[in-house]
């Protein structure tokens, strides 16, 4: 490549990078400016007028009970939904990978086939079912739904990982008289750590960022942050101080997870893509 071409490529890709970065920066700066300024001038004015920057919006939403509670709800939904999927999927994946029983492959294929069932197919019956057993609007209901719809992908991912482990490991353990539970806990879970980490990160971000499921199965007191923000959207300009600051707060954890575990996240997405 000639020098000129290299320089123009660098410039072009730099511009693309900016294009991908600027909208997010725009939201952050919007959250850092007082609301009345949103009506008057663009957020980029803050670059030349740094005095416009204030933490006022963040301070105000931390006093806003609904927003604070919804952030707590997001954690209360995301953590059990992640742990639940990992646990149930690891158990099932172990059975699919290492315990031989008739109909195993057919059953596994059936579970994997559920991977692309749009969750819209379940919304109406499950909300009726939840209503009947009295968990409609509860955090438990939201969690169970997330776990169920996370399972096909999780089982698929972990089963393939477990199956790729050397056969001698389990056979030797069985000959030594280890129970299946013991093999599962002492061999599979520790060795499966990379796949479990990918899965956990993927599931965590998925549930944290969910809007649709919570929109239907949560009520105001159990709503996560995404739903709380969505309810402010009716008056976008009027609530921009709450919307921008809360949106940014909702992004902090996912971004931290993303930067800390970027590799695992990419691997999880890749594995997910090969469904």
């Amino acid at each position: 490549m000639t020098r000129v071409r290299r320089a123009s490529l660098t410039a072009a890709m730099g511009a693309v990078g900016l294009l991908w970065l600027v909208p997010t920066v725009g939201l952050l700066v919007t959250a850092l400016r007082p609301r009345r300024l949103f009506d008057e001038s663009g957020w980029w004015q803050a670059v030349t007028h740094p005095s416009q920057i204030t933490l006022e919006n963040f301070r105000r939403i931390l006093d806003n009970h609904q927003i604070v509670r919804s952030l707590g709800n997001t954690v209360l939904i995301t953590v059990p939904a992640t742990v639940g999927v990992v646990l149930l999927a690891a158990l099932a994946a172990y059975a699919f990978a290492w315990i031989e029983f008739p109909g195993r492959d057919v059953l596994f294929l059936a579970v994997v086939a559920l991977l692309v069932v749009p969750l819209q197919m379940a919304l109406v019956p499950v909300s009726n079912l939840y209503g009947r057993i009295g968990i409609f609007g509860s955090i438990l209901g939201v969690v169970l739904f997330h776990v169920a719809f996370g399972l096909p992908f999780a089982v698929f991912l972990l089963r393939n990982f477990f199956a790729s482990l050397p056969r001698e490991l389990t056979e030797a353990a069985r000959l030594d008289g280890a129970s299946e539970t013991r093999i599962f806990l002492r061999i599979m879970l520790p060795l499966g750590r990379p796949a479990i980490a990918s899965l956990a990160i993927f599931q965590f971000l998925w549930v944290w960022n969910d809007l649709l499921v919570a929109l239907i199965f949560a009520r105001t007191s159990t709503a996560p942050i995404t739903v709380a923000i969505q309810q402010q959207l009716r008056s976008f300009g009027g609530n921009i101080d709450i919307i921008s600051a809360a949106s940014f707060l909702s992004m902090v954890i996912p971004l931290a997870v993303f930067f800390a575990f970027q590799r695992s996240f990419a691997r999880g997405l890749l594995a997910g893509a090969v469904k």
Binding site: G26, G42, W43, L91, V117, V126, F145, F184, N209, I216
Partner: protein, 441 residues
Amino acid sequence: MTVAAAPAGRRARSGRVGAGRRWLVAGLFLTPALVLLGALVVYPIVATVVASFKDATGARFVGADNYRTLFTNHDTLVAVRNNVVWVAVVPAAVTALGLVFAVLSERLTFQRAFRTVVFMPMAVSLLAGGVIWRVVYEQSPHRGLLNAGLDAVVRVFHPPGRYPGAIPSEGMAASGKGMVLVQTVCTGDVAQLGLVGLSPQQVPSSAKPGRVPSTAPGDVTGVVFRDFEPGGGGQRGTLDPGEMGLPAVKVDLRTTSGKVLAATTTADDGSFAFHGAGSGPFRLAVSGSNFRPAFAGIQWLGPRLITPSIIVAYIWIWAGFAMMVIAAGLAAIPREILEAARVDGASEWQTFRRVTVPLLAPEMGVVFVTLVIYVLKVFDIVLVVAPPSEQNDANVIALEMWRTAFGARNQGLGSAAAVLLFALVLPVMVLNLRRFRAERA
């Protein structure tokens, strides 16, 4: 449930377990997952299909009525049409963009930074992504970055006039986008061009009280002024004491047939002069550029552009995913193959087109199929980016399903929309399962 499975498993202590025993152990490991899948995924599929043939409350069967409504109702037809647009545009655009980014960023010195930045939107919620883009799409060029950028460009080619909204006073008449003096003028004449309808803020601070220039032989002179005397009084069409001259107004001298002979701009006191104009008669005109309004901003979230605007935001979110998947494939291509192509005299483009792209076909296929599935189910970003007034125009099947089943409380029609969505995803699922089977073989 998982706790219950553990002690039972511990009992299967023998090294060689019989078939019946293995069934039991496998069952204990599988039960929790299968129960949840059965209750919250499999049973609902059946229940939704049944409900789609029932009425709004599920009380009685209505045959295929819901499906008939689905394909005759205007709102759902818009939703289906928009979903078709989404599927036609997004997977192809995202795959192409991912390919370009992956290949071009490969030899970049700041490759890691670039890929991180482009991949980052995948980590945040579609809700946050939607909010980010609503700020970008704000219509006023003072607030929305996109329109502010366009405004900067428009300003270069079509600078806004200083006096938008002005209307002709006595003796003047509108002509096209500008105004003309009704009376024709000859050399030596002094013309008075009055404008009304201007707010005091529109009069520049440099403006001075209007001054009628003295007549000069061979010249056409005049004054452009704000024909409004504070406190009332005065005569319309003539410059009265206290009325301000309008600076920097572009004035044309034209023939009576409208051909522009000369142009000038007014001084701070509103006066202007055309020297050595020649013989008349002429017509004086205040050209339309003085009244050109400032760029008001494109209505990105209006009925016409709403779907393309949301699609752009969605592509912004997903391009990083495509780039990462394709970059992984790219890294796995043996360097020798590419070098062999170059040694054989292939240009960069030929190597890319004939070697790299075919070798990346599997990854591109994965990205494309994944995007088709996600795009068919697109929901959050439409709900967030489209203002409430535009949700009918931006509608997609998943949004319509939610609005029907949970907004309008019509479970039958909502279920039919869900079944339609499922039917659209099904062929893609079969494709994916085939691939999956081929990989296992």
